[in-house]
Structure formats: C-alpha cells, structure tokens
C-alpha cells in the first residue's frame, strides 16, 4: 500500500518535471507558439515569438504595454502630428471622455492576439471611437448630418492619428486638381552629395571621385572575378569613390588591424548606411532582426509569396546584389521575386510600369516612370550637415497603413489630391495596380468646397 503510494508520487514528480522541462525548453526556444494566446496582427506577426518586445515586464499591465508601443511607434506618431496625442487626454476636462474610451492607452483600441477582431488596417478598432467625443459635429458641419458614426475613419475622410493629407485647409488648397498633374515632382538622388553629407562616410580615405575599372584596390595576390569587377565598376559606389577596400578591408571590432574579408556581411553596409539600416530594422523586412530573431523570410509572411523564394532570408543583399547594388533591380524585380499577391502581379501590366519601361528606354523624362519602390520606398528630402539631400525611405511600411499616408509622400508627386484619395479608397483598383480609373468617390473635397461657398454667400449677405 505504502509502495503503491510512493510510486504514484514518483510518477507525479517525474511527470511534473517532464512538463516543467518541456515548458522551460519551449520558453527559451525561438518557437514560442505554445504560449501565444492568439495570433498577432499583420504588423506584429513577424515578431510574435519575441514576447518581451511588448511584454517588457510581467506586471504593470497597460502602462508597460504603452511604453512598448511608444518605443516603436512614438516617433512616427510625432512626425505625423498625431491629432490625438496622449497629453490631450491627461487634461482633467477630458476625464468624462476617457471614462468612455480610455484614449490614454493604445491598447484600448488596438488589442493584440485577437485575429477575429482585427480589421482591414491590420489593427483592431472599436467602431464608435469618433462619435463619443464628436457626437455633435453636425451642429458645426451640417454636411455631416445623418452620416453613419462608423464611417468617419473608414470612408477615406479622417484618420484618428494622421491627417496630414486630409485636413480641411489642405483639401481646400488642392481643390480641382487634374487627375494627372502636368508636372511630375519625383525627387532625383545624388549619391555624391549623399556621401558628402553622410556623417559616417570616411571621406578622407575615400574621397569623392569616379574610378576606372583598373583602379580597383583589391590585393594583387587575390584572383579577382572579372564579372564582379564589372558589376562594381558599373555601380554608384565606383562612380562616387567607394573602392573594394572600403567594404572588404575591414577592422571588424574597431581595435584590430584591418583584414581582408572575402564575403563581408550586411554589418559592413551599416558602417555608412546607418539610416537605411535603421529604416530596414523598423520595417516588416527587418523587424525580426531588430528583435534578435532569425531573419525574415517570405515563408513567414501572411501575404502571398512566390513559392521558389519562400526560404530566402532578408538582408540588404536580398534586394541589392553585393557588387552592383542595382537600384533599378531593387526597385522592381527584387520585390516581384518574392511578392506574388494580386497587386504585385498586376504591376507588370500597369500604366505605372509602362511609363517605367518608357523611362528606361529614354522615351520620357527621368522621374516619370513608376516602380514598386517609387511608392513603397519613397524618396524624401532631408537636411543633413546643412545640405538638402534626397534619401530613400527603406521602411516600406512607413506609408502603408492606413494608405492615406501615401497621398502626400507618393501619389501627389504625379496626381491631384482628389484623384489620389479616390484611388486609394478603391480596393479593386489597388488590386489591379491602378490600371483604370477609381470607381469610388470620396466626398470630402466636395463637402469643403460647398462649405466655403455657403460661407461666401453668407459673408456677401452680411456685407
């Protein structure tokens, strides 16, 4: 009897130890699926195995999560001139409002691990978040009378955080613009200027100049591959003063003697391209690396990807080959190597691509063609060391959701505001990669035009 009891205890102990060991093993393993309370959203699924990225403390609840949200998204909210910053709701006069919707915390609206609630924007959103405070908007804006309270942010008119392309005076300024502007405003890059102003570029060692093919400085003892040399010679690096040794002859830890590395990894790129790397690590392409996980691969994506590329691992070299750094390849084919969704596949048959091909043939002016990168890796002007340089945003998610973020940074370089708003509101048109005209029409420009007209008539009557 006693022995039977002891055996039970031993079995229980062994079982408990086995379960504890298994859980412990899974806890420290990269695959933590076992502990996931539910799939994460489109924006976080890449890093859902890095629990501590958001759950920085076991205790602390919303406050801890809020700090984690702001760590990654705080800066972009500031840059977007967030219309509803937290500080607006810490004011006691809004105490009644936060009682209804606690706008002090991102997780009040954007709940994670709830795929069944996640909406088209890739986040969960309550339907009544506008009406709670702006219930009497029709008093001030009669045009809003009888509009559904669920439609404010989903009809292409407003956004809770970012209204840089949607605010009233901006709409007014861009009334009646043509669908396609006569003058395109695509910014042109200048690598030489970029290197000059790049704080981390070793200008003394590698002054700005163009190299001939025979000026390469690889050690003479090394048998050099002619094809690689050609690729380098045709690259922007060779045309701007970056010789072989800049990337291959490296002092890895900053203390030792320089050593020739046959195949330097992407850490070498970071020596000069710090900002591009930062963008990459903030993007869906690089966010796994930023969290210390293995690199992102198309197989992990929730989007439709090309079967043959599924097991590639993403780094700088996935889009920029190691010697040629061909930005034209990176702008289209690098994307289409992996992305096989409807929108991506429709690109090659789109007008955008037609103009890109015409630009490459020299049939139209530079800056008139549209590649994948034109929209998803947009160029922007930035002041660096007192000079205005054109940079390429390497975080392709920066302007992606909600897609109105793309209006100013991309669409309006070539299209009128009204056309841009309508086009981005038409899901079917997006799937066709903008081949055709928008079938949807967002009335915000009509509304503001009507409002100004009414005010003008009223003003005339007063006078």
């Amino acid at each position: 009897m006693k022995l039977k009891g002891s055996i039970k205890w031993i079995i229980w102990l062994v079982f408990t130890l086995l379960v504890a060991s298994y859980l412990g093993y899974r806890m420290y393993d990269e695959d933590k699926t076992l502990f996931l309370p539910g799939k994460t959203s489109h924006g976080h699924h890449q890093i859902e195995m890095a629990c501590a990225a958001c759950h920085t403390d076991k205790f602390g609840g919303k406050k801890v999560l809020q700090a984690a949200c702001m760590k990654c998204h705080g800066e972009e909210l500031k840059l977007a001139d967030d219309n509803h910053p937290r500080s607006k709701f810490t004011d006691p006069r809004n105490a009644d409002r936060i009682k209804k919707i606690d706008a002090l915390y991102c997780v009040t609206c954007h709940v994670e691990h709830k795929p069944e609630l996640t909406g088209v924007m890739g986040v969960t959103m309550p339907q009544d978040f506008c009406v709670n405070c702006h219930y009497d908007i029709a008093k001030d804006r009669p045009s809003h009378k009888d509009l559904p309270f669920t439609g404010c942010a989903s009809a292409g008119c407003h956004n809770y955080h970012d209204n840089r392309a949607l605010y009233e005076d901006f709409l007014l300024k861009h009334l009646h613009e043509k669908d396609v502007l006569s003058e395109k405003k695509l910014l042109q890059r200048n690598l030489k200027l970029r290197l000059q102003t790049m704080p981390s570029y070793p200008l003394k060692e590698y002054p700005l100049r163009s190299f001939t093919r025979h000026e390469q400085d690889a050690p003479p003892t090394l048998s050099t591959d002619g094809k690689l040399l050609d690729e380098w010679y045709q690259s922007a690096h060779a045309q701007s003063g970056v010789n072989c040794s800049a990337c291959h002859n490296i002092d890895i830890d900053g203390k030792s003697k320089k050593k020739w590395l046959e195949k330097p990894d992407q850490k070498i790129c970071v020596n000069c391209h710090k900002q591009e790397n930062e963008d990459f690590l903030n993007s869906m392409h690089g966010m796994r690396l930023a969290q210390g996980l293995s690199p992102m691969s198309p197989a992990m994506s929730v989007l439709k990807m090309d079967n043959d590329s599924k097991h590639q691992q993403l780094s700088c070299f996935s889009c920029h080959s190691t010697h040629r750094f061909d930005t034209k390849y990176a702008a289209i084919n690098a994307c289409l190597n992996c992305h096989a969704d409807q929108h991506s596949q429709a690109y090659k048959h789109s007008l955008h691509n037609k103009y890109w091909r015409m630009e490459q043939q020299g049939e139209i002016k530079e800056g008139n063609g549209v590649s994948c990168a034109t929209c998803h890796f947009p160029r922007h002007e930035q002041k660096q060391n007192g000079k205005h340089v054109i940079r390429v945003m390497h975080n392709q998610n920066d302007n992606l959701r909600p897609n109105e973020k793309m209006i100013r940074s991309v669409c309006m370089n070539c299209h009128g505001l009204g056309f841009s708003i309508d086009a981005l509101a038409d899901r079917a048109l997006i799937d066709k990669n903008f081949t055709g005209l928008p079938a949807k029409h967002i009335k915000s420009l009509d509304m503001i035009e009507r409002r100004v007209e009414i005010q003008r008539i009223k003003g005339n009557k007063k006078e």
């Binding site: 001139d81 500080s87 607006k88 006069r93 105490a95 005076d169 901006f170 100004v452």
Partner: protein, 190 residues
C-alpha cells in the same frame, strides 16, 4: 523655441514648488497663489510671443507669416498653438496641474467651455473686465481648484486673425477685448 523652453522651465519650477509644498500643509502655498503665479508666467510669455514675434514679424515687418499649418506653410506657430504645445509638453512631463486656452467663441470647437465651471468662469471674465474667476470642481473622481483668467487681445494680429478666420464664430473683436480665458486646474487633496 526660447519662449517654449522658458515657459516649460518656469512651469516645471513652480510645479516642483507645489509638490514640495503639498507635503507640508502648514506652510504650503495656497492653490490660488499657485494658479496666479502660473498664470503670471503664462500671460507674460504669451504676450511677449504675440507682440514681439507674431505681430512684429508677420504684420509690422512682414518677414514671415504665422499659420495654423506652420509646418506645411513654413510659417510661425500661432500663439494659441504655442500655448497648447507648451501645455501638452508639461502634461507629457507629468505636471501635477493642467492648463488650457478656452473661449466662448473658439475657432476650434473643442476649445469651447465643457464643464460647468468653465462656462460660468468664461462668462464671468467677459462680464467683469479685469477680474479672475476661481472655483472648485470634481472631474473623474478628483477634486480640482480651477481658476479662469481673461485672455485679452494684446496685438492687432490677435483680432485680425480671429475676425477673418472661416471657423471663427465672431468677427467683431477689438483691441483689449476679452477673447477667451486661460483655465488652470490644480488637484486638491482631500
């Protein structure tokens, strides 16, 4: 920039003073004195910014315009925005008081009176020129000492902008009119 730094550091110093005083009730500063001191700093800085930056540069010397969309228009920040940004920055830094600029005729409708004290106070300062309004109210379960101070048209730029703005409910402001009020709230301990 200097204005903003000055305002925030002034408010922070007063905030520290208030926290220090909270612990020693017998020698602590009265909420009214605290609110008056805060307002003195705010009103002075606000007047300096409106007269010496906005009015001088945008109207007198016409060097740069002031715009609500200052980033897009590469213009000066409006005095009301400067005031709000300072209030938001102080809130972000965890100030134990809050302040805002409200009006019975706000351009931004979110700045109309919302609580009973705000309505009474804003009307009081319009009806009683030169006087402030003080009261207590409970918001979100916390009791506050609330002070309302008149915000007066101190420069042509104030009335010019408010009288012609398409969202302004009033277009007949004159110099020295009370255009709105600064509302300061200080939480009271039970």
């Amino acid at each position: 920039m200097h204005y903003s730094k000055l305002l925030v550091s002034g408010l922070a110093a007063l905030s520290i003073l208030l926290s220090a005083c909270e612990g020693k009730k017998s020698t602590g500063i009265e909420p009214k004195d605290m609110a008056d001191a805060l307002h003195l700093v705010m009103e002075s800085d606000r007047t300096v910014y409106t007269r010496k930056i906005i009015n001088r540069l945008s109207l007198d010397e016409q060097i740069i315009k002031a715009s609500e969309h200052w980033k897009d228009d590469k213009a000066l920040v409006l005095p009301a925005q400067m005031f709000r940004y300072g209030a938001e920055m102080a809130a972000e830094k965890g100030a134990n008081f809050s302040y805002s600029l409200l009006s019975l005729w706000p351009i931004n409708k979110q700045n109309k009176p919302k609580t009973e004290i705000e309505s009474i106070g804003l009307k009081f300062i319009v009806d009683n020129p030169g006087e402030n309004y003080y009261g207590e109210e409970e918001l979100g379960g916390t009791k506050y000492f609330t002070a309302v101070y008149p915000d007066i048209a101190v420069a042509t730029a104030c009335i010019k902008c408010h009288n012609k703005h398409k969202n302004s409910p009033r277009s007949d402001f004159n110099m020295k009119d009370v255009m709105g009020g600064v509302v300061i709230r200080i939480p009271l301990k039970d």
